[in-house]
């Protein structure tokens, strides 16, 4: 009764292949969604920080709504509601990508906004005094400092969000969780399967962390660190 039979998972080539594909899909979808989400978040944060009349309010509502509803409900709406409403059909991963990117963008926007608010006024005034144009000021002076200062928060938020992405299996994406559920349905070794999955998720999260830390050292080498 109380015996662990991990070998039932790893002796089967098909299962291992599914797990590998699942890892790949989970990682690639999360990274793509994070990059897209980050770009959207930049827009949201800037609009909100600059107090553009209507857009700022809209962006606040959007961010608050996403942050205060569960990811799974958002994904279900994006995957099953929107296509029915607007009459399009995408592959499953397309829905997942859109849903995750929307979700990530709200969390990133909140972090970026706090970074924008914290930037010293003197920096902008100095840039103005040098006669730099608005967009140059933003790209050369403001954005690098903001991103550098909130980078650690973005990293931990990204890792946290990555750990929630298993729910995309619920809308049919064959990600890591999906592979696990499949193997579980074939072998009934639920405990072993989900322990394996957990270890894989933790391993991926640690890898992400290491990569992001290395990127921090590389891109923001000029940053003053404690």
């Amino acid at each position: 009764m109380l015996e662990l039979r991990f070998f039932e998972i790893y002796r089967d080539a098909d299962f291992m292949w599914r797990l590998a594909e699942g890892v790949w899909l989970s990682v690639s979808l999360t990274v793509t969604a994070a990059v897209a989400g980050f770009l959207v978040a930049m827009g949201l944060a800037v609009v909100r920080n600059a107090r553009v009349p209507v857009l700022a309010l809209l962006s606040t509502c959007y961010v608050e709504f996403i942050r205060n509803t569960p990811l799974i409900v958002q994904l279900f709406f994006v995957a099953f509601g929107l296509p029915l409403l607007l009459g399009y059909s995408w592959p499953f991963w397309g829905h997942a990508l859109l849903g995750l990117a929307l979700n990530f963008s709200a969390y990133f926007a909140e972090i970026l906004r706090s970074g924008l608010m914290a930037i010293p006024k003197g920096q902008i005034e100095a840039a103005e005094a040098l006669g730099l144009r608005r967009h140059v000021r933003f790209i050369k002076i403001v954005a690098p400092q903001v991103i550098a200062s909130v980078y650690p928060s973005l990293t931990s938020q990204f890792i946290f969000l990555f750990l929630t992405t298993g729910v995309i299996s619920e809308i049919g994406v064959e990600d890591l969780t999906h592979a696990g559920v499949f193997i579980d349905s074939r072998t009934f070794r639920s405990f072993e399967v989900f322990i394996t999955l957990t270890l894989l998720y933790v391993a991926i999260a640690l890898t992400f962390k290491a990569c992001l830390l290395a990127m921090d050292r590389y891109f923001f080498a000029w940053k003053v660190r404690q």
């Binding site: 009764m1 109380l2 662990l4 608050e64 709504f65 942050r67 205060n68 509803t69 569960p70 990811l71 799974i72 409900v73 958002q74 279900f76 709406f77 099953f80 509601g81 929107l82 029915l84 409403l85 969390y107 909140e110 928060s153 931990s156 938020q157 946290f160 969000l161 750990l163 929630t164 298993g166 729910v167 619920e170 969780t177 696990g180 579980d184 009934f188 070794r189 639920s190 405990f191 072993e192 399967v193 989900f194 322990i195 999955l197 957990t198 998720y201 933790v202 999260a205 640690l206």
Partner: protein, 235 residues
């Protein structure tokens, strides 16, 4: 209430709304239990984390690290499918959902509270010791009153995380708002299409979470504790 909703919104819509709202109570119960249980265990882990004993400290750090790294979904799968199959015994979805959410909450709350307690300057501890006070006396009379200020806002903020986390419990068959809503969305009834049901559910979750988020923000401003703890639970 059922009759009233049917009267106001008509046949499928009124019944659906009633079922969604009555399922919401289980979401609230589960969140409350997870918060209370997580607070209890999290408190013990926090104590172990700041205690004088090296092994206890190590164990607490390990606990926090471990359960902050494990996805909630995996905790649910393990407690709802894994452990029952391993033991060859059925476990009620209530128990599994409670157990996983409690563990999840305890790790995050312990991290928040550890941050709050360690944000108090060590001179406060030393002063207490100089007065001849013991560990618990210092903690109760000097440290906790100060740490509470710092910990309050992120603790309230984390309750939002717990409510959102309960939405995953339907995966192991827990009957909450998510479960009922999904069933309505799949039902071939006019007026309960996915693009109506899911936004409605989102609104209900929003109505639960948003006031808490606002309250956390208010506390942050009121107590002047912005950015004092590491943002362990800001998501």
């Amino acid at each position: 209430m059922s009759d009233l909703l049917v009267m106001l919104f008509g046949k499928p819509m009124g019944i659906m709304l009633f079922q969604l709202l009555s399922a919401t109570q289980y979401t609230i119960y589960l969140s409350a239990i997870a918060f209370a249980g997580g607070g209890l265990i999290g408190g013990l882990v926090t104590l172990a984390r700041i205690s004088g004993q090296k092994h206890l400290r190590r164990f607490a750090s390990g606990y926090i690290w471990c359960f902050q790294s494990v996805p909630l979904l995996m905790l649910l799968f393990l407690s709802g499918l894994g452990v029952p199959r391993l033991m060859g015994q059925d476990v009620d979805p209530w128990i599994s959902a409670m157990a996983s959410l409690t563990i999840y909450a305890s790790a995050y709350l312990a991290e928040v509270w550890r941050g709050a307690i360690q944000s108090i300057p060590s001179g406060q501890w030393e002063a207490g010791r100089a007065l001849g006070m013991r560990f618990f006396a210092i903690l109760r009379a000097i440290i906790l009153p100060q740490a509470l200020r710092v910990a309050l806002a992120p603790t309230v903020g984390f309750s939002v995380q717990i409510i959102k986390g309960t939405s995953l419990a339907y995966i192991i068959g827990f009957q909450d708002l998510m479960n009922i809503g999904r069933r309505w969305a799949n039902a071939p009834v006019d007026g309960t299409e996915p693009f109506i049901v899911f936004p409605l559910m989102a609104l209900i979750y929003f109505a639960l979470c948003f006031p808490l988020s606002r309250f956390a923000l208010y506390l942050e401003h009121r107590l002047g504790t912005i950015g004092k703890t590491p943002p362990a639970a800001t998501a």
